[in-house]
Symmetry: C2
Subunit: 586 residues, 2 copies
């Protein structure tokens, strides 16, 4: 099962539509160029196909295994990971002074599509390591940075995020892992963490855990939580590896998908010999972790795009090759085309959503204009739960359609669709379930903000749509989306009014609200993409290129006419006074 | 992972709401009673839980295996199957004179929920055997009936349906398996069949294959196809087992789910020694097979109900037990309740849909009044694709929500949700993909019939709703559904008009049309159920029973207010003039 991706659409999205080349106007990227970005993406896609896509199926079949208390990865993973690090893909967007490539985060997220699409289990090792490294880069002391970052950025060491405990899932504040200060400034860590992605494996000589724990005596709940660096093996003063740090692998989960990703239960300090080092400020661990988690949420969304995208490409090829009823390829059947177009429209819109959000992260950090920075950060914060939840749910839906295109074969391991569906499902569960994302959007991002950021963001959509409407062919589409936006605003008002008088309303309406917003945003992106395609068609492109560009316009029409009505479905749910699910009938 | 089912709802659906006891008014069931039906259902549920539900997880983990050219079932299956046959569950609705229980088909379908919900792989063996036996009972000669039925109805022998070939999936007419007449009246069968459920296993001493093949010289396409009985081992004149009949197991599929169900590739007549016996008339095989397939489609739908129902019950229990954020059970969170109510509303409406359709099958066969028979048959024919496709797709959606309720645990094999999702997916693929069902509904059942049956069926819905609206509390719900029905009729007109001028329209609109119809029908059933619950509440039931009955009313409100708007989503798709997916852009 080769990894397949429509690289032309990735290029269109990044360079033609979002103009990621403009990121070189930000000070840290001044020496870079769009050409550089494109060549790195090409290398990434090539590496993904050749080195890690080839391990996707076997990784699933073999799975990660525990042997003598340690995880053994499926054949080929260790070697591929070494090459991966050597190629510089571990930390494309971290600082060069610590061994990163120094590219914009946007590029890191964009290239991540290829790794995640080619082999989700493999890509997770990089994702967590890069996340942990970024946390150390952001909140660590210079000594910590020097100690950890070069080796994490080269892939010699890996990293994890350790939040969840058996009794503390969505409610992280309930954690009981403790940190007791030692005389030397370090802490003794004790506790059990579960669902630790890549918590133990044989691809790196050390694993650097970022662990949430409570310093003895600190406040209960999220307020008293601190963040610690806990290496799997201790590190000597000269940087060499020292003794075992009492982080014990208890077991790994048996899962529906991402079977080559070891999801670990880790016991810290079983022998009271687990040393941790505070990172950032005491009792500000949740704040530090959230930085990392917000990025991870974008990457979760990208997982939905990535796996959805390769599932779509495989299904498309199958639909062209498979004949039924004489020699008719099944792609000729309108019902099959409807499924394919649904997949295409989701993949293209969701890809754009994620990359535009990643650009906001770069602009939010690096733009010279403080107002632009603030705006980008506010928009990113608003969009993060949508990027995570809407994209993972719709990515799942794309894989479900892929299976349908294959018919009975889609249920078999002879084709990749079923693995894609199993692998992508996790994205709607980890990094905060999609229900939690919906509560974040409606509560923290909308109601607590009095809808200001949302209102501002909707204004920018209108302004974009007005520009797109300049082309006569695009205007009808832009008009439909503008009208939909008006209906969404009404729905948002309903949400605010209901929430003001009923404290259960925000939870009850959270998921419909997120879904409605997601569809509106994606429809607007599709119309804007169509306008760009229209513009590029003026330049008399080759027949192939014209077909490609027309594909953007048709996909936009499909989104607006066939998918956007789901926004109204969700608005109907919001407008209904129904609260039957709250009744005492379960 | 125990099998869980809301037996009270099954009873409410069958006895309170659908009054299956009325089937005893049909001549063949005159000696039976509602009490008998209930006690058989109770026994079935008990057997399902105790004997086969206990093998569901291990069956999935071990899977069916090929050893020395034959399938070995997971531990315990063979023994459980023997008990299953001894308990008379193989052919509850086949004729007593051939060893069946002689119950209405409705009871067979109802009890099948328990078997399928408890262990899908196990239940498929019964489903196929009963289907093959029913075909022999319906189209076979008396000699054939005597030869095969007693042993199939006792579970000593099993059965299969052999349609699909590598190049002939949805297009069965493309098959190449041949039948050459022999001097003794038998035929030599040659060809390869794929996707043969329970095509080979160790649970029975013989397997009776029903094979579609073309007699040499007969017409190409579906018209020239005949149906043959092909035993795995030949049967001597005295009924004892004879020599091997040259039906070779080539391989079994590796699948995402129903892993304990051997999905076989069978090679017939490799050594030119495969003997088959014509069943029914030559070249009428497709017609005979369709009888069996239509029943199998109801049972596929029941698979969606059955697995969705147990997934719901498990998720509900988990939501009550699992606490987060202090000691709050997660069922207290409104977003979780929304998911649970969505699952409940689907399970209850879909269960009703399937059982009502099964009653139509009994009425269509056995009612004294020819007009009633015709009407029931016409309605059943209209509803069959909906029962198959809508129910399997929504059943899948229920399992997806179950996983979400469990959060990260839902992705692990520690809880049953992930297996349910993997197991139920097949129902949208086999017995004709759900796309094929949608084409059947819009083409054969709606357009070719000039919408007559549909119109007639909608009239009966209105009349039911009018009756339900007699209760003041139900009237608002009934009114919403009646208004929705009016919009559906408009949508159906649009479909007819578009199909009249554009031959691709029926394929393009097929899936939205089926989904819209499915939601309308289910919403109407929920309102009618609510009216019945309202009525039963008048009798001052116990507090528990009142809570149960109120649950029916709340679930109806939820369906009408929160799910039925999906009908309008699909009508919007139909009303849109968009045909972007037909553009040449793939």
């Amino acid at each position: 099962m080769d990894y397949k991706v429509d690289f032309e659409d990735v290029k269109f999205t990044l360079f033609d539509f979002l103009n990621v080349g403009s990121l070189t106007e930000l000070p840290p990227f001044a020496e870079q160029s769009a050409d550089l970005y494109q060549s790195i993406l090409e290398e990434g896609a090539k590496f993904a196909k050749k080195e890690i896509g080839s391990l996707n199926e076997s990784g699933d079949r073999i799975g990660a295994k525990v042997v003598d208390g340690h995880v053994v990865m499926p054949a080929g993973f260790k070697e591929a990971f070494k090459k991966f690090g050597e190629n510089g893909f571990m930390s494309t967007d971290l600082k060069p002074e610590y061994g990163g490539m120094g590219l914009p985060n946007t590029l890191g997220v964009a290239i991540f599509e290829f790794f995640m699409g080619a082999n989700a289990s493999f890509a997770l090792v990089q994702m967590l390591t890069r996340g942990a490294a970024n946390n150390i880069q952001t909140f660590g002391t210079e000594e910590q940075k020097q100690t950890y970052l070069h080796k994490m950025n080269s892939g010699e060491w890996c990293g994890t995020m350790c939040l969840t405990e058996p009794q503390a899932g969505s409610a992280v504040g309930d954690l009981t892992t403790s940190a007791t200060p030692n005389a030397d400034g370090s802490y003794s860590i004790q506790g059990t963490k579960i669902f630790i992605t890549s918590g133990n494996h044989d691809m790196a000589s050390n694993i650097i855990h970022l662990v949430l724990a409570r310093v003895k005596g600190d406040a209960p709940g999220t307020k008293g939580i601190s963040l610690f660096i806990v290496p799997n093996r201790r590190i000597n003063a000269d940087g060499s590896l020292g003794q075992d740090n009492d982080v014990k692998l208890t077991s790994i989960e048996h899962k529906m998908g991402i079977k080559a990703s070891p999801t670990c239960v880790l016991q810290f300090g079983d022998k009271n010999a687990c040393q941790g080092f505070l990172i950032g400020k005491q009792a500000e661990g949740m704040k530090h972790m959230f930085t990392l988690m917000n990025e991870a949420r974008l990457e979760c969304g990208q997982q939905g795009v990535a796996i959805g995208a390769t599932a779509y490409e495989h299904a498309l090829q199958y639909a062209k090759d498979r004949t039924q009823g004489g020699n008719t390829p099944i792609i000729n059947f309108p019902d099959v085309r409807r499924m394919l177009m649904t997949m295409k429209a989701y993949v293209e819109s969701l890809r754009t959503l994620i990359i535009e959000a990643a650009m906001m992260a770069d602009i939010g950090k690096h733009h010279a204009d403080a107002h632009k920075r603030e705006e980008a950060e506010a928009f990113l914060s608003l969009l993060t739960p949508v990027c995570k939840a809407f994209t993972s749910d719709m990515g799942f839906r794309v894989t479900e359609l892929a299976i349908q295109i294959y018919g009975g074969y889609g249920f078999t391991a002879d084709y990749p669709a079923e693995q894609y569906m199993r692998d992508v499902k996790i994205a709607s569960l980890y990094e905060g379930t999609n229900g939690i994302q919906a509560m974040d959007l409606i509560g923290r991002k909308f109601l607590m903000n009095q809808g200001k950021t949302m209102g501002h963001y909707l204004e920018t959509i209108v302004s974009h749509l007005n520009k797109a409407a300049a082309a006569a062919e695009i205007k009808p589409l832009a008009d439909v989306v503008k009208a939909a936006l008006g209906r969404f605003q009404e729905g948002a008002k309903t949400v605010a009014n209901r929430a003001a008088s009923d404290k259960s309303a925000s939870g009850y309406l959270a998921t419909p609200f997120l879904r409605a917003f997601g569809d509106l945003v994606c429809a607007s992106l599709m119309v804007r993409r169509a306008a760009k395609a229209r513009e590029l068609l003026q330049a008399n492109p080759t027949a192939d290129r014209a077909r490609f560009l027309n594909g953007k316009i048709e996909a936009a029409k499909f989104y607006v006419e066939q998918i956007l009505p789901e926004m109204d479905l969700n608005l109907a749910r919001i407008k209904s006074s129904d609260v039957s699910a709250l009744a005492d009938v379960f």
